[in-house]
Symmetry: C2
Subunit: 119 residues, 2 copies
């Protein structure tokens, strides 16, 4: 069995947008820091989204009308919550489908079809 401390950044690159859109779809609304922590947790520390990658992505998604934002104050500190628009929800669905399809193709390409136990 293979133990990986952290995936190479090239791998994460292509899936970041999909992951974020999908999380927003499932969670309803989230703020940036929360997204980084949840991905870290769910991936067992193997995917750590950097702020330099996440915030520009979220800003771009907002600009493209895929998410809307609302700021909330926790004490004096601001939190910016992101929610999917209808367009963003469609995008999330498409992205996830594409990624699922892609992974199936890759498994076939790499002959990983029967990868189940004891790798």
């Amino acid at each position: 069995m293979y133990i990986c401390p952290m995936y190479s950044s090239e791998l994460i690159k292509g899936t970041l947008k999909t992951i974020v859109l999908n999380l927003l779809k499932e969670q309803g609304k989230m703020y940036g820091y929360e997204i980084t922590q949840r991905v870290k947790l769910l991936s067992n520390e193997k995917i750590q989204i950097t702020e330099g990658a996440l915030y520009p992505l979220l800003h771009a998604l907002e600009k493209q009308g895929e998410v809307t934002t609302e700021s909330e104050y926790i004490g004096k500190r601001v939190r910016k919550y992101y929610s999917l628009t209808e367009k963003g929800a469609i995008s999330a669905k498409d992205k996830v489908s594409e990624l699922a399809d892609f992974m199936a193709t890759i498994r076939f390409l790499l002959n990983l079809e029967t990868t189940t136990a004891n790798g």
Copy 2:
């Protein structure tokens, strides 16, 4: 069911090196053009490796000692065959393991665990 004409390039980016190393591992030796055609065929046209991506990658792999080359003449035209070195074989194995692990993590992250039929 989702029909995808061609995966977004961001997705392919992170997996190109892995795909190439794995093909070389399975096929013994291949030349560049052959790699592009095989990937195109095996992926049902959904992954088309561009020459501008492939050749620089192959040159880099050679420079790093992961592949060796031998040129063969087919008539007057040259073909450059690439084979894995021992180092390249290890790299291939590692890369494939990492990708398999990564895809499992992504499936979990995206709740695709039970994706089998009529997705």
